[in-house]
Amino acid sequence: MKPVDLWRHEARRAGLPALLGPPVLAALILLLAAFGTRLGSREENTRWMLMGALEMGVPLLSGMVAATLPGRDPVAELRLAIPRGYRPALLRRLAVALGCTGACAVAVCAALMASGWWTFAYGGAAGQLVWLAPALWLAALGFFAAAALRSTAAAASLVAFVWTGEQIVGGALADNPAYRLLHLFATTSWGSDGWPVNRLFLMSTAVLLAVAGWLLLGNAERVLRGEPE
């Protein structure tokens, strides 16, 4: 089997919703940028919502995708028995789905920067961290929770709770130095103050979560004993 066939197979396993969600979100963001003023939204409000959609919408999608994809193999016994292993296949599947999300987010960022909607202090490549850091963190959380709890519903619930909870407590915990490091939506909540450190901390903790999930998925018996439907 050629590598391209493997990738094509995993793209099909990821499913249409995981691949179509990001372009739909990107289209909605661009439509808001184009017609927001005509809909009666003030410029500042539209700008905040565009950044919000990028910083909150993209991570929600990637977190849910990462929480859903590991638990969808009806013949996991077979996949675990093949020499190339289950984990690389799963990684390919996640890479396809998250890659699609990332490509759409980069395109939206470029469009916002080119059209003058982007007034955030960090632009260009560093500006991509607006969506990349929270998206990676929530995806890593979803991946880890799916591996640890072996239940898609539970992993998705955790991602959903963290996503909503972070929006609600962002304002109340603005003075807590530990929370400032871990807040997912620092761009839209607090602006550029301490932003690079927050992004770096999110990315490094995301790596830890992903590695923990990877190690858990290495235990074939654990994977097979997933929660019954």
Partner: protein, 260 residues
């Protein structure tokens, strides 16, 4: 109906992941949020009635997310496991089975939520020495939390019929945030209207006075936000139950169409 209710209730209640997720979420609420102090930096909570109102507000803002996501995979389950044909061949009626399944799943998924809420009430009783808190907690739960759960439960129960579960969960979370949590002045939204599931109308219309400083700027869809009065509180309860019945009727219609 009773048999399917009991079976679904027991099955959902025995899911370890249900308890693990609720446990983690409540642990976060206790450590990060002011679920102990109940003042949220805004309220002055001196009477048990107000304290239970604030506890209800915290619980109902955050926990229905878990409630909805955890019960979203229950309805398509029979089709996924390919046992729907066998169940259809049993003498039990489809409508009775649907209602039993809905009631059982929702009741079981609401059990940890109720434990979190009544646990807080019990703690209040011991710390403050005011046993009336338990009574107020029961009234607040029945009048202001339960109707919202009835509607959200029907929505999360039915949603995966129309959409793949993953898409539904994303949209459900987005709906919860947009339609129940955000300030009304931010964008056109259902939050703070009689269609929002957070039970605000009962809390402020029927149970406790509106907290000082709880003002609202004028916003789009304000015609859906009548003042907090006992009449609007009852209207909200009616709207929630009617919406849940409408959603379940649609599910039943969908099942009848796929029968033919």
């Amino acid at each position: 109906m009773i048999a399917s209710l009991r079976y679904e209730f027991a099955m959902q209640l025995r899911r370890p992941s249900l308890w693990i997720v609720y446990g983690l979420v409540v642990a976060v609420m206790v450590t990060v949020l002011d679920y102990w102090s109940l003042d949220l930096g805004v309220y002055e909570v001196s009477a048990p009635k107000e304290a239970m109102g604030v506890a209800a507000q915290i619980v109902v803002t955050l926990l229905p997310i878990v409630y909805g996501c955890m019960l979203a995979d229950r309805l398509p389950r029979e089709r996924v496991l390919r046992v729907d044909g066998i169940l259809d061949a049993t003498p039990s009626g489809r409508t009775a089975r649907l209602i039993g399944k809905y009631a059982g799943v929702c009741a079981a998924t609401a059990v940890p939520l109720a434990i979190a809420y009544f646990g807080r009430a019990l703690l209040y009783v011991f710390v403050e020495g005011q046993p009336s808190a338990l009574g107020w907690a029961a009234v607040t739960f029945l009048a202001s939390i339960l109707p919202g759960l009835v509607f959200v439960g029907a929505l999360a129960f039915a949603g995966p019929l129309l959409l793949p579960p993953m898409v539904f969960r994303v949209l459900f979370v987005a709906y919860w945030f947009w339609g129940n949590v955000i300030p009304a002045s931010l964008m056109p939204t259902l939050s703070h209207t009689v269609f929002s599931a957070t039970g605000e109308y009962v809390r402020y219309g029927l149970l406790t006075p509106i907290p000082p400083g709880y003002g609202r700027a004028s916003a789009v869809l304000d015609f859906l936000r009548p003042g907090y009065t006992p009449a609007t509180a009852w209207l909200w309860i009616g709207v929630m139950i009617a919406l849940a019945a409408a959603v379940l009727s649609l599910v039943r219609l969908h099942a009848s169409r796929s029968e033919s």
